[in-house]
């Protein structure tokens, strides 16, 4: 099982140039659990994720891993504990699937040495878990969107970190692939105890797959906790500015948001 870590943000303010997008967020990432950050567009979900993954330096406040500010931890050492899959990673043209997954081994490798047995094993394990081993020698250009996303996740897995951040891992994928990816990530969490933190757009899938939810509004943490506690109609109204009814998901029992717009509202059924 993956190690337990205390990973927290303390009154963190962060953004780009002069525009502060995260305005004083304090949170503790639940270790060995799946957390999902939700919120309206441009509320700072990605920025928060990037700040916690040291891609953006906070303007004030602290992000600490086991008590040490992440900016003070040597980059390669941190990369063995914390991995991030960005929203739109760049594919080197023509690279084979196995070579790309293998790049996730960088933080474990020395300057000039080639792949060790351990590297091969980590790559094989990651690819087996994502069910892409058969594609190992194909060029990534030939793959579908769903397959590509599994390749990227495999690369993050080959990094063998205890904590894995994912920025909208299901965007642009068909619903079938969305479920597939989320199931695979749940496998990873259940089997290996990997702490997963991700940004998801779909609130119902968030409610179903998350152990813990962070709800952001305009760069501030509005609510956090178990999905059944956070996903309520007043909170959804606050977070997204959307009228809704929250029902019980008939499949999972998790809360499920049924939006109320200006049309197609049957007043005999809902008030």
């Amino acid at each position: 099982m993956k190690a337990t870590h205390v990973f927290e943000a303390e009154n963190t303010v962060a953004g780009y140039d002069n525009e502060m997008i995260i305005q004083g967020v304090s949170l503790v990432i639940p270790s060995n659990k799946i957390s999902v950050i939700i919120g309206a567009n441009a509320c700072g979900k990605s920025t928060l994720l990037k700040t916690m993954a040291r891609l953006i330096k906070p303007a004030s406040g602290n992000v600490t891993l086991d008590g040490r500010p992440i900016g003070k931890i040597p980059s390669k050492q941190l990369a063995r504990v914390l991995g991030l899959l960005p929203q739109s990673p760049i594919v080197p043209e023509g690279i084979s699937v196995a070579d790309l997954v293998g790049r996730g081994r960088f933080p474990h490798q020395s300057l000039l040495r080639g792949w060790t047995q351990k590297d091969y094993e980590a790559v094989a394990e990651a690819m087996d878990l994502m069910d892409i081993t058969a594609l190992a020698n194909q060029s990534i250009d030939e793959l579908s969107g769903g397959q590509r996303q599994r390749v990227w996740i495999a690369m993050a897995l080959a990094q063998q970190t205890d904590i894995l951040f994912l920025d909208e891992p299901t965007t642009f994928l068909d619903i079938t692939y969305q479920i597939e990816i989320l199931d695979l990530l749940t496998d990873l969490n259940r089997k290996h105890g990997t702490t997963i933190v991700m940004v998801l757009h779909d609130i119902n899938l968030s409610a179903r797959y998350a152990d813990y939810i962070f709800a952001l509004q305009k760069g501030r943490l509005l609510a956090e906790g178990d999905p059944s506690k956070v996903i309520t109609s007043p909170l959804v109204k606050d977070i997204f500015g959307l009228e809704c009814t929250v029902i019980k998901d008939p499949v999972s029992g998790s809360p499920s948001v049924v939006p109320i717009g200006r049309y197609h509202v049957n007043h005999e059924i809902s008030p």
């Binding site: 891609l55 941190l78 080197p92 023509g94 790049r103 960088f106 094989a124 690819m127």
Partner: protein, 344 residues
């Protein structure tokens, strides 16, 4: 839960790609070796191999010693070092910026070094170390200039390339002007700055370039893995543990120093930096470090180009003309393809 068959399957594929890399790199080195020898053997008189070897080992042979030691050997060594420097430095920029157009000789870095060297030689009448240092500084200053002009709200490689092409045109105009003003005294030297040439290479000019290649080429080769991480984008590279700013600066300084010194020695040999990386990548495949193969392709382009320029026609052409003829169509092809794809 490691499946040994998966490990074996992945290993087999990776080994196959590695074998191809080793084979192709070996062939490129072999071809370079043959071209080096051809450079020593061919000339106004063709000398037999054993005489050339005896001369190289220090024996004095009438006629042969002068031709080989004073003309052919420095010419060959200059071509070898400059070709390697151009190839490896061009590939570094192209990989780092993820675009084959982002080569130092397309985006004006070479032109910056050339302009500084021309200014030093024709206007300040200096030579040697001053020229080398000035061209390194000018090369780095050009990088900085391109970076400042192409910095918008967000970083765009397309904009960087267009700005670079503009700066290149401006610097070439400056070089032409300097040549007009000061060329009368020294027309052969001036011609070298219009298109690179190995003519008149001399042994005593070699040490600065040799030292530079010996220091900076290994740095770039050792940073091969880092470079391939940068290729995945800023965010991915950072989360894989790369200190992106430090790595980029180290790579840029190494590549620019090599380009500048090579340019100060031979003049801007057209398109060698631009062509070497893509050719090498085609040959060795993607996924393994491209630095050494690109350097070797550079060597082969310069030496083969020089041999063709010297012996294929009635008139002797400098190597830069030959590589220019090779490179220009490829540049057009890339521009058209990228325009279609909407990358520019």
């Amino acid at each position: 839960m490691i499946n040994n068959n998966s490990v074996k399957f992945i290993m087999a594929g990776r080994r196959k790609r590695r074998r191809r890399w080793i084979l192709v790199t070996g062939l490129l080195a072999g071809l370079a070796f043959i071209l080096c020898w051809t450079m020593l053997l061919l000339g106004n008189t063709i000398y037999p191999v054993n005489e050339v070897i005896r001369v190289l080992l220090g024996e004095e042979l009438n006629g042969v010693s002068f031709a080989v030691n004073t003309i052919r050997l420095p010419r060959m060594l200059t071509g070898l070092l400059a070709g390697f420097a151009f190839g490896i430095a061009g590939n570094t920029f192209q990989t780092m910026l993820r675009n084959p157009l982002a080569s130092p000789d397309v985006i004006g870095i070479t032109a910056g070094s050339s302009a500084a060297a021309v200014f030093c030689i024709l206007i300040l009448h200096t030579s040697g170390a001053v020229v080398s240092i000035a061209s390194v500084i000018a090369g780095l200053a050009t990088v900085l200039l391109i970076y400042i002009f192409s910095r918008g709200r967000t970083f765009s490689i397309g904009r960087l390339i267009l700005v670079g092409i503009g700066i290149q045109a401006m610097l070439n105009a400056l070089i032409s002007y300097l040549l007009l003003v000061g060329a009368q005294q020294d027309i052969p030297a001036a011609l070298r700055w219009l298109s690179g040439s190995l003519n008149g290479s001399q042994m005593h000019e070699l040490p600065p370039l040799s030292v530079t290649v010996l220091i900076f080429a290994p740095i770039i080769i050792m940073l091969g893995k880092h470079l391939s991480m940068l290729e995945l984008g800023e965010q991915m590279a950072t989360s894989l543990g790369i200190n992106t700013d430090k790595t980029r600066i180290l790579l840029i300084v190494s590549a620019v120093t090599m380009i500048a010194l090579a340019t100060a020695t031979t003049g801007p040999i057209a398109f060698v930096a631009f062509l070497s990386g893509p050719i090498a990548k085609r040959l060795v495949g993607v996924g393994l470090s491209n630095a050494i193969p690109a350097g070797l392709v550079g060597v082969n382009l310069v030496l083969a180009g020089d041999l063709i320029g010297q012996f294929a026609f009635d008139v002797r052409y400098p190597v830069g003309i030959i590589t220019g003829i090779l490179g220009a169509p490829y540049l057009l092809f890339l521009l058209i393809r990228m325009n279609r794809k909407g990358d520019l």
